[in-house]
């Protein structure tokens, strides 16, 4: 790993010598992107290590008849096997492509079109939309915690619109395409409207968007619940939910098993959104306004950017993307709107933070959290470890991503202490190698 070695060099003199890795990487990617990437990877590795310790400790405390794992040398028995947990988590989320404990690296019978991988990709698809929603607002310097509410409103708008429009169209693939397009638009309008409210409040009443979006999440959930409970509830339904939208208006699960709730087409739409938003943010004048008001609001204003309008537009766009996420949730996963909407919007915040708020970074980040979700189910099936472990890992990842300074300090320490970093120390050093510039990144984050 030449990068880590270079990191150790950089660590010995972090202020002047540009590391080899940076010279190699810099021409290809924006430097701050590289830093974010390294910090994200280091954060993931560190949370895996902390999760390992948590599993170990709780495995010592929990009661069981036979030890699942015995610590080498000490002979201490543990109820949970911390290695197996991670093997099951990552291998299981993909449908066990790797043959563990058998000859050969790969299982020859594995196909990508299995149920577990479908569930993982289904979650990934939904998180792409919510992650993008948060990322777009973040780039404009707005912390949209309200993606959850925008998703709830968008999902309800989609379900009601498709249910209302379906009887006017003949059944068939053509009508299905029309209904999906109309439903997606309705979701975008609903979510965009719900996102425009905190945007306008921020722009014209100077109301802090963190507070208003948190409030609007609760309001959206409660109002949607009451609306469906009192008006739109499906007859004879035991849960609070609308009727199912017609089968032909849902995304078809092409190659994957139906129960995986995954449609390749929806993932492709998500990829299209990633590309589109990346282009919009990085290569258009609107994107330029967005980014400058995010980095330096006063300068943007001085440079002729209409700050108020940009704020409202950014929040509307963010809400609309969240609303499309809601429409995909209805048309791909559930087939209807139902209460107890999963916390996709909150997970979108974690996806966006891990992605460094870069639309392109949202794809791997969403995939990672998709794996955590898919893997959690497998942990529940195959091990005794409580699946809530995954929730802890998610929180830890976010905590560590939020503190780049820690990795810089750790990297400095490792750089001085040893020249051959390994394990989590190695990742800390890689964060360090580009560390002296990420102070600016950290500062920018604080302003946002």
């Amino acid at each position: 790993m030449s990068r880590s070695d270079a990191g150790a060099d950089g660590g010995s003199d972090p202020d002047r010598v540009p590391s080899i890795a940076r010279r190699v990487v810099a021409p290809f990617v924006d430097r701050s992107v590289a830093e974010r990437l390294l910090i994200s990877v280091a954060a993931i590795l560190l949370s895996i290590v902390v999760g390992f310790v948590i599993v170990l400790i709780s495995g010592r405390i929990a009661q069981c008849s036979t030890a699942a794992w015995t610590m080498p040398l000490t002979g201490l028995g543990f109820c949970y096997d911390p290695v197996e947990v991670y093997v099951v988590l990552f291998n299981g989320a993909l449908g066990y492509p790797f043959a563990v404990g058998e000859p050969g690296l790969f299982d020859p019978n594995w196909t990508p079109f299995n149920l577990s991988f479908g569930l993982t990709l289904s979650e990934t698809t939904l998180l792409i939309f919510t992650g993008l929603s948060v990322a777009v607002a973040f780039r404009a310097g707005l912390f949209n915690i309200g993606t959850q509410g925008q998703l709830v409103v968008g999902a309800l708008a989609t379900a009601l619109t498709v249910l209302a429009a379906a009887p006017f169209l003949p059944e068939g693939p053509a009508a299905g395409v029309v209904l999906i397009v109309v439903g997606t638009l309705a979701g975008a309008v609903g979510g965009g409207f719900w996102g425009a409210i905190p945007g306008a409040l921020k722009a014209y009443a100077d109301a802090n968007e963190v507070i208003t979006t948190i409030m609007l999440n609760f309001i959206a959930a409660n109002i949607a619940y009451v609306l469906v409970l009192e008006v739109f509830r499906a007859e004879g339904s035991s849960v609070v939910a609308t009727r199912y939208v017609p089968e032909h208006a849902q995304y078809l699960p092409w190659f994957f098993p139906e129960s995986s709730d995954f449609a390749l087409l929806a993932l492709l739409v998500g990829l299209g959104f990633i590309g589109g938003l990346y282009y919009l943010v990085e290569h258009t004048s609107f994107g330029y306004d967005l980014r400058t008001s995010g980095v330096q609001a006063a300068a943007a204003k001085y440079g002729g950017v209409n700050a108020k309008a940009t704020t409202v537009r950014a929040m509307t766009l963010s809400g609309a993307v969240g609303g499309v996420g809601g429409s995909v949730w209805v048309l791909m996963s559930e087939g209807r709107w139902m209460a107890s909407v999963p916390a996709l919007g909150f997970d979108g915040i974690t996806v966006s933070i891990l992605a460094g708020n870069n639309p392109l970074g949202v794809l791997p980040a969403a995939f990672l959290f998709g794996i955590l979700k898919g893997g959690a189910l497998e942990i529940g099936f195959r091990t005794d470890v409580p699946t809530q472990l995954v929730g802890v890992l998610r929180g830890l990842i976010i905590l560590f991503v939020a503190m780049p300074e820690f990795f810089r300090m750790a990297g400095r320490f490792m750089g001085m202490g040893s020249s051959g970093p390994g394990g989590p120390g190695g990742s800390a050093s890689t964060a360090e190698e580009t560390g002296d510039d990420s102070a600016a990144v950290g500062g920018g984050e604080a302003d946002a």
Partner: protein, 350 residues
């Protein structure tokens, strides 16, 4: 928009509260309750009669104080953290972790046993406070020493607690909900703790040197640094206090029922976020926070009683009221202003 209630003078309160805004809130609340009492007494058979019967009944007082304790106490903690310049959005997580830890330790000690002469339930209470303070301490180190983004770190605190409490509950008890302890803390203790904490907080913030330092750390850290007081120490103290107060609130919530419920959003159910609402609504004044917290909790308690009496009140809509109120207040009055340096790191210049 001139507030008509702002000019009403109240002898004792004027001394306690400088802000017109908070004073008018209190006058308004007392006025509404007074009018309700009068109408209820005049027309005992009407809705007003039922309502005033509910509002002034002791069972409503009990459930209000039970519901208000976590909101007000976490809100007071939020004031200390935010006044010092650290926005603590992780109050919800602190409530969750203390609610679980208090029940867990109380059940480990065993109801009926005592440690050093302290009954198990109060040992659990102290453990809840300790757990919340420890998590707040981690949050403080991450924000102040490692210069993390406060909002993101606060969210992480919430997410970690949201995962960790049900995880630990499953490890120890085999399910996300703990078994019921079979013992509980009376609501009177909660009520007393809330009132004492409110006035102690007010005194600490407004009448002590520590309170001055705290406000300076949030408004003008450079000035504080110049007079030789460590900004990071003051901020650590503010964050730790938010942990202590939230711990009292979370423990009181769980022990007033005798159980920790970990399914969904756990038994805390967004009370930490309502706490943020309460102290913003009270404009960072502890007395105002108490008023707002009791108001929100009281609304919920009255709504529960109304349902029991057979009035078809959509409970979900009543629960929405505090959130809508906050948005309207933020939009129209716009009184709440974050401390100048809140959310920013402070770098000592040696």
């Amino acid at each position: 928009m001139r507030n008509p209630l702002a000019d009403v003078t109240i002898p004792i309160l004027d001394d306690l509260i400088e802000s017109d805004y908070v004073r008018s809130l209190i006058v308004g609340t007392v006025g509404v309750l007074g009018a309700l009492l009068v109408f209820g007494a005049l027309f005992p058979d009407s809705v007003a009669g039922d309502l005033s019967g509910i509002v002034f009944s002791s069972s409503t007082a009990a459930s209000t104080s039970r519901l208000a304790a976590p909101i007000v106490l976490a809100g007071l903690g939020g004031i200390f953290a935010e006044k010092s310049g650290v926005i603590n959005i992780g109050l919800e997580g602190l409530l969750i972790i203390s609610a679980f830890a208090s029940v867990y330790v109380a059940s480990v000690v065993g109801i009926g046993n005592a440690v050093l002469g302290i009954p198990a339930i109060w040992v659990g209470f102290l453990a809840g406070v300790a757990a919340s303070t420890a998590l707040a301490g981690v949050f403080g180190v991450v924000c102040i020493e490692f210069k993390a983004d406060q909002i993101i770190a606060g969210l992480a605190v919430w997410l970690i607690a949201l995962g960790l409490a049900p995880f630990m509950s499953t490890v120890f008890f085999g399910g996300v909900n703990t078994p019921n302890l079979g013992a509980r803390v009376s609501w009177r203790y909660s009520a007393v703790m809330v009132v004492v904490a409110t006035f102690a907080s007010w005194w600490a913030l407004n009448r002590t040197a520590f309170g001055k330092h705290l406000r300076a750390a949030g408004e003008n850290p450079k000035a504080l640094d110049t007079v030789g007081v460590s900004v990071s120490k003051v901020r650590h103290a503010g964050v730790l206090l938010s942990g202590v107060l939230s711990g009292v609130g979370g423990s009181a919530l769980a022990l007033s029922i005798g159980q920790f419920v970990g399914s969904g959003e756990t038994m805390v159910q967004g009370k930490g976020f309502i706490a943020i609402v309460a102290y913003l609504f009270g404009n960072y004044n502890p007395v105002g926070t108490l008023g707002a917290g009791v108001l929100f909790a009281g609304l919920d308690a009255v709504q529960i009683r109304l349902q029991q009496l057979g009035y078809a009140v959509p409970d979900t809509l009543v629960q929405t009221i505090p959130y809508v109120v906050v948005i309207v207040v933020l939009a129209l009055v716009g009184r709440t202003r974050l401390p100048e340096a809140a959310g920013e790191h402070y770098e000592t210049e040696d």
